[in-house]
Symmetry: C2
Subunit: 273 residues, 2 copies
């Protein structure tokens, strides 16, 4: 099995490559992991210019030698290459798993909208550097990519209802665009990080009123982490907020989801697993 | 002339009322300004509960004795009352000017979508307390409300092309919902405050790719103020960003707009003036 790594948004520290490779060599010696040199470039906010990031993604996605693309990290910027890369994905791109989350939700959403490959929410390579983890999240990602290990999966997945998972900010930025996939009958999982609660509430308003999301089956709430304090304090809890907005949306709140910007973040393959 | 003041989002300091009334008494003695007591309530993040804020707005909007509603301030929360208040607006609501901006853009957008009254972007009452101004922005707002003073208007308004003006975050939160008005053939003015540039760029992506905005005539960029520093530094200027995204949107960038979260913020009546 061959896994390709590229970075459509932010760059990664070069130390990530030997660490990921060392972990893989011990745990999944049959796997070859190839990092695109583009992962380590820096151009302003991004891992190379838009053109360079787009070219690296297309090179790997269109290469039939690779079975999966594991995104290096999120950050910001994968939205900026969508209109360039999406029309250029060929047959080889359709037979791959694409794994990542956060800003990478732009890629996953657009791929799923076009029904290209298997977009999957889950840990990114750079999380091997997490100080609150000892490689478990990278292991979880690899175990899914290599063996389809069900222990990596978000526990509410039932193999019946289709699902999709997004960082709420990224879901919001997709709403109203044609990059947002049709999520009719899907369970929608959301998570958020580093936002004040009033902004989370504002984002939930947009989700609840989005015409494109009218047909979803329900919502599951991942963890809302590193909440930014704001004055006056927001009086509602995330559970109260999601219950309120699901009510206004007319869909059931189905309970928590085991996804987040944290080390415990589980794998959610889009669609039916 | 009678002007009503209510607060669909955040509360205001009670000192705003005597200050606004003193200013009006000197400059426009023929005007009566009525503050709803709801403006001074506090319920968590908001100037009273959703039900209380909705009731205050409906009471004043549906009262034929008032010629205009001047919103007390922005903050966060006017989106939360839209689904309650919009179906309940009657005939008297259709003959009013509605003046405000920032979070109040939710109200202006929904009113314009329903073609109710004259939604107008401009200073809010609470700005009488600005430390960088001596009542000029409140005067500008009053001069427009009372006399239709053209000196208050954003200078690019030509009386021919329809316009609308939004805080970019609020515009983004409306995209994909039915509260976003049809802006076909409109000049769209945007401004932003207290955001890192990568987020401004992400919001411009959504604007540029929003299906609902495909038919706009062009974009004007107000000021992007109090930019939050972010690492790595965003390499593009706001002008570069807006030029890029207008290009991807396929509409002309028409130049700057004299609107912002600052004391110089001008008045922009939605539609053709």
């Amino acid at each position: 099995m061959k896994i390709a790594v590229c970075a459509p948004a932010g760059r990664i520290d070069p130390i990530v490559e030997p660490r990921i490779k060392a972990l893989a060599a011990i745990t999944f010696p049959q796997v070859e992991i190839v990092f695109h040199p583009q992962c380590f470039l820096q151009d302003g906010h991004f891992a190379g210019s838009d053109a360079v990031r787009a070219a690296a993604f297309l090179e790997f996605a269109n290469d039939p030698a690779f079975d999966a693309i594991w995104f290096a990290r999120g950050g910001y910027g994968s939205n900026r290459i969508l209109h360039d890369v999406m029309p250029k994905l060929g047959t080889a791109a359709k037979h791959k798993t694409y794994l990542g989350y956060s800003d990478i939700g732009f890629m996953l959403g657009a791929l799923y909208a076009a029904r290209i490959g298997r977009p999957t929410h889950g840990p990114v390579c750079s999380e091997i550097n997490r100080k609150d983890d000892q490689g478990h999240c990278a292991m979880r990602a690899l175990a899914w990519l290599v063996n389809g290990d069900k222990a990596s999966l978000e526990p509410s997945l039932d193999g019946k209802r289709p699902v999709a998972a997004f960082n709420l900010s990224i879901l919001n930025a997709l709403i109203g665009t044609h990059w947002l996939p049709d999520l009719t009958d899907h369970v929608l999982m959301i998570e958020e990080v580093s936002e004040p609660l009033y902004r989370v509430d504002r984002m939930l308003f947009q989700m609840a009123h989005a015409t494109q999301l009218k047909g979803i089956a329900g919502v599951r709430l991942g963890r809302i982490t590193d909440v930014i304090p704001n004055t006056p304090e927001f009086a509602e809890t995330p559970e109260q907020m999601i219950t309120r907005w699901c009510g206004e949306m007319g869909v059931p709140y189905l309970g928590p989801a085991d996804i987040a910007h944290d080390a415990a973040n589980k794998v959610v393959p889009f669609g039916v697993i």
